[in-house]
Symmetry: C2
Subunit: 183 residues, 2 copies
Amino acid sequence: MIPDAPSSGYTVWFTGLSGAGKTTVSRLVAAELARSGVHVEVLDGDVVRTHLSKGLGFSKEDRDTNIERIGWVASRLARAGTAVVVAAISPYEASRRRARELTEAFAPFLEVHVRASVEECARRDPKGLYARALAGELADFTGVSAPYEEPLTPELMLDTELDEPEASAGRVIKMLGARGLFR
Amino acid sequence: MIPDAPSSGYTVWFTGLSGAGKTTVSRLVAAELARSGVHVEVLDGDVVRTHLSKGLGFSKEDRDTNIERIGWVASRLARAGTAVVVAAISPYEASRRRARELTEAFAPFLEVHVRASVEECARRDPKGLYARALAGELADFTGVSAPYEEPLTPELMLDTELDEPEASAGRVIKMLGARGLFR
């Protein structure tokens, strides 16, 4: 009943610790894509929570539900021909794999691990959350009081301790180009 | 940061009682759109609940949350150029209005009231739910133990007691044509 999808859609999924640089890099990538006329939709974990996942917390089950929802929406948008840019901690490998499967039924899925050490993220601490987590005030805080399962086979790994955001975004664009998804 | 949307997207929002014919008519419409090469996404309330709203019940608050989510996803897909076909009881005027506002920021929104009397829907009772609701076994059942606020200014009203599903679907297609959204 649904016709073949427009062929240009895909999902770029940024995963990593809070403070690793997912939002910053993903916005630079989205801006670059948009400048070239690509239709982009950014699904940022923090933003999406207000629309899709109000009431969910940060337990493993609630995180899995949140990622399942983002993955489902991303898959629908990618099928519609959108370049979907997701930025979400998404700490569990199984959840990311399910999100991948949902998109790959229709379109490419590129997992980008935005990597910085817990120590570095705690030093940046843009939201003051590491300080609270390290003081024992936040349960279920990824990297401190909850696990982060590193991606096993990401399409790309970014090191935001080594590279500036602009250089990291450039690597993502380069990867998309190498895969025929951007020119 | 996000470029102008592809201009062809819109949301057709079917609202009405359980058993009024929303799913049947919306599928016929989606099939007709798809046959003409339009990229269609169907967001059926019952189906979407498994992806977006697991855990939500049928209280007013939970229904509002469910409709808010469907409305948000529909708006994103419409912005991406998709013909979005929503079939959801969506009994509250305020929720439907919010869904409309989300889409209309980017694309047309067409509300279609799929109308049949409670008596007729109870006679059809495809899921056996009216029998249970009328026996007092189901709280919050729209039309029996919970309200259905009729649309005040729908773009189209279908009478599924008068017309067969194919004729109702034809009226929707005709309306889309008259608005320059289908040819």
